[in-house]
Every structure is written in structure tokens, then in C-alpha cells.
């Protein structure tokens, strides 16, 4: 059963459209697997929509009296022109049926989550039991990947300077806190230190805004590959 969910604040920013594409996709994928978060998102969307349009109605009234300069700016759009332009077209949106897409790691085919359908995936690179495919979102210091861990593989003990999201798409892994299963949404910050191991193998969607930092003994030598994994 899924035990780890996005925080209320994250869901709120998600609904507002304020999160980067990488994190938005993570929440969308989780909500596809989690009824509870789906319900919350749906309620939040109702409330936020209402608040936005309601607030704007009141706000507009106030501001029309107060600020003539802004009023001029609004008047720069010719609404009638725009309406005429839009309604001149007879086109309606025809929905294309979604085709499932797959990605293959270690000779296993995994169904790609819908939210990732139009993202560009880099060629998988491999180190030991880890393979990852970078997702080309171009979000500066934020890196998103699909990370596959073969049975018995793991990520050496590490901390991160920023945040690190791990969303389990398939399989399971374990760390000091317990076992994580498909759908779990695990958001860690720089205070956390962990050492996930996957006994049976797993596929994760990961988003991190800084390279991993390995903390223990010989593993410190691995720091250059921290940036490989996430």
C-alpha cells in the first residue's frame, strides 16, 4: 500500500501550475496511482478556480476605480476583435487516443507513465546495477531521470544539498526507514541521509536539484558518480 504522499503545499502548487514540469509530472504520476491524492487535487482545483475567478471579480472592481493607467492597458485589447477571430474558426479539438509507450531496462519492458509521454528520454547509461535515462527537460539545476536498479543493487549512503524526489514506478526498495512500494512519493531534503537498496529490483522516477553527496568511507570516492545517478 502507498504510504508516502506529496504534502498539501506541494499539491496546492501543483494545482496552481507553479511547480516545474519535473515535479508536476511526479505528482501527476503519483495521483494516477493514489485515489486519496486524486480526490484532494480535485477538491483543491475547485477551490482554487473559484477563489481565482471570484477574487479577480472583486479585485477588478476595486482597481478600475483606482488605477487608470492599468485600465488603459486592459483596453489595449480589442475584445470584440478577439472574439470574432476565435469564433471564425469551426475547428474543434479531436481527441487522439493515447497509445501506451514503453521503456526497456534490463530486458524488461515498463509502461511509461502518461505524464512522460512527450518528454525526451536520453539513452540509458549504466554503472553496476544502476541504469538511468536522463529526461531532457532543461530545468537548469533540476535533473530528472528514470533510474532502474537491478535486484540486489542500491545507492550508497548519501545526502543531498537540495531536494530529492524518488517516485516508485515499479518494484520496491528498502532504506533505514522501511520498505517503499509502487506509487510511493518520497521527498527528501538535505537533512536526510539514506541508503536505499532494492532486493528485488525497481524502476523509479527521480527529480533532484543537486548532485548526491556520498558520506561514508570508501564511498566518498564515488562522489563523482553522484551526479551520474540523479
Amino acid at each position: 500500500m502507498i504510504k508516502h504522499h506529496p504534502t498539501f503545499e506541494l499539491l496546492q502548487s501543483f494545482v496552481n501550475g507553479d511547480l516545474p514540469a519535473s515535479l508536476s509530472a511526479g505528482i501527476a504520476i503519483h495521483a494516477d496511482m493514489c485515489q486519496e491524492c486524486q480526490r484532494q487535487i480535485s477538491q483543491l482545483t475547485d477551490q482554487i478556480a473559484e477563489a481565482n475567478f471570484e477574487f479577480e471579480a472583486n479585485f477588478l472592481d476595486r482597481f478600475i476605480i483606482d488605477e487608470e493607467k492599468d485600465l488603459d492597458e486592459i483596453a489595449t485589447i480589442d475584445f470584440d476583435d478577439m472574439i470574432a477571430g476565435i469564433t471564425a474558426s469551426d475547428e474543434i479539438e479531436v481527441l487522439k487516443e493515447k497509445e501506451d509507450k514503453f521503456i526497456s531496462f534490463n530486458d524488461t519492458n515498463y509502461k511509461l507513465p502518461d505524464a512522460l509521454h512527450n518528454m525526451v528520454l536520453g539513452k540509458p547509461a549504466q554503472i553496476g546495477k544502476l541504469s538511468r535515462s536522463r529526461i531532457q527537460l532543461d530545468e537548469d539545476e533540476i535533473h530528472s531521470s528514470l533510474l532502474h536498479i537491478k535486484p540486489g543493487g542500491g545507492v550508497p549512503e548519501h545526502t543531498h544539498k537540495g531536494f530529492e524526489l524518488t517516485l516508485l514506478l515499479d518494484g520496491s526498495f528498502e532504506d533505514e526507514q522501511g520498505t517503499y512500494v509502487k506509487g510511493d512519493f518520497i521527498m527528501l531534503n538535505s537533512e536526510h541521509q539514506h541508503h536505499p537498496v532494492s532486493e528485488h529490483g525497481c524502476l523509479c522516477y527521480t527529480v533532484a536539484n543537486d548532485a548526491l553527496h556520498f558520506t561514508k568511507g570508501i564511498n566518498k570516492l564515488l562522489n563523482p558518480i553522484g551526479s551520474f545517478i540523479y
Binding site: D46, E50, L95
Partner: protein, 205 residues
């Protein structure tokens, strides 16, 4: 609850955040656009939403032309996608909001990351929309039953119960929102719960 026959109202409606928004009317306009390509109805929708969308977009884009583009894009999508609006799944304001949010998201990505990958419809699929309330609750019959009982409460108690249980607001938040003393909220909630217990008990027998 005659209006419910026309269009599901947003949850938020029940706690009086929106006395000024005529939800059933917005739904009818959307329907007229979708079924008859009715330009008059579209003009009404445009006049209602466009000024609000401009204000919201201006807070996200420094550039006036970009804010205007959000209006243009959002309202074009409303015209082209009106048939995808499902009134059983949510209010018209919710649907237009999601259309606007998606347009804004794609445009911001274009501005910031210089990417024209239009990911928003994959992240927030417009067509599937939101889960209906029915899907969300595990026991459909039980929920319907509960809703009916709640709808029969006096207005003053109903809004408190809905806010507290359906919107998961705290009693303090409700007091603030409804502009009532906390004690009043508490006693209304208590009264309502006593009634609900009796009513639901009856129904179970």
C-alpha cells in the same frame, strides 16, 4: 437543489465564497458553445472570463503581450474544446481554470526553458478531467445518503458541515470565512451532528 439538475456546482459554492458567480448560467453557455457553436454564448463567457484571466496572467508574466496571449489561447481552447467539458465532473469555473492553467504552464516553459514541448495536457489531461466525487468516495450509496441528509439541514448548519467535512477546513478557518464567532461554529456543528446521527441511524434501521 434545482440548480444541480443543470450543472454541478463547485464545492466551494456551498460556503458562500461565490455568491457573485452564476454557475448554472456559465454551464448553459458552455453547453450552447459545444452543441450549437453559439457565438452569443461564447461572447458572454468571454466577457465573464477574459478580464479576470488578464489580471491573473499579468501577475505571472511581466509582459503585457504575453498576458494577452494567455487570454487569446485560453479562450480559443474554450471555443475548440467546449465539448470536452463534462458538467458532471466539475463546475465551469474549474474547467476554464484548468484550461487557463495549462496554457499558462506551457507558455511559462516556453519563456523560461525555451521549450515548446506543451507538456501540460499530459500532466493535467483536460479530457479525463477530474475524478468525479462519486469515484472519490469508497461507498457511493453511503455518500449519496449522507449528502441527502446534509442537504436537508438548515442552511446555517449545512454550510458549516460541508466546510468542515467536505473541504476539510478547521473550525477556526470556518469562523473566519463565515465571519462568525468560533463558539457559533462549534454549536452549529454540534447541532448538525446530533441531527445527522439521528437521521443516519433511522436510515440504517
Amino acid at each position: 437543489m434545482q440548480t444541480n439538475l443543470l450543472c454541478k456546482e463547485t464545492n466551494a459554492k456551498s460556503i458562500k465564497m461565490s455568491d457573485e458567480i452564476d454557475h448554472p448560467q456559465l454551464c448553459l453557455w458552455l453547453k450552447a458553445v459545444s452543441e450549437n457553436r453559439n457565438k452569443q454564448a461564447f461572447t458572454h463567457l468571454f466577457n465573464f472570463f477574459a478580464p479576470k484571466i488578464i489580471r491573473i496572467a499579468r501577475s505571472k508574466f511581466p509582459n503585457e503581450a504575453q498576458a494577452n496571449e494567455v487570454v487569446q489561447e485560453t479562450m480559443s481552447n474554450v471555443w475548440r474544446k467546449a465539448h470536452l467539458f463534462n458538467q458532471d465532473k466539475g463546475a465551469a469555473t474549474t474547467w476554464v481554470y484548468t484550461v487557463m492553467r495549462n496554457v499558462t504552464f506551457d507558455m511559462l516553459r516556453k519563456v523560461k526553458a525555451n521549450k515548446e514541448d506543451n507538456l501540460s495536457d499530459d500532466i493535467w489531461p483536460i479530457a479525463e478531467g477530474l475524478v468525479s466525487d462519486d469515484d472519490a468516495y469508497e461507498d457511493h450509496l453511503e455518500t449519496e445518503n449522507l449528502k441527502a441528509v446534509i442537504d436537508n439541514l438548515p442552511e446555517s448548519q449545512r454550510e458549516v458541515v460541508k466546510g468542515f467535512y467536505f473541504m476539510e477546513m478547521t473550525q477556526e478557518q470556518l469562523a473566519e470565512k463565515l465571519n462568525l464567532p468560533l463558539g457559533t461554529i462549534k454549536s452549529r456543528l454540534r447541532l448538525a451532528l446530533a441531527k445527522l446521527k439521528v437521521k443516519l441511524g433511522e436510515n440504517h434501521d
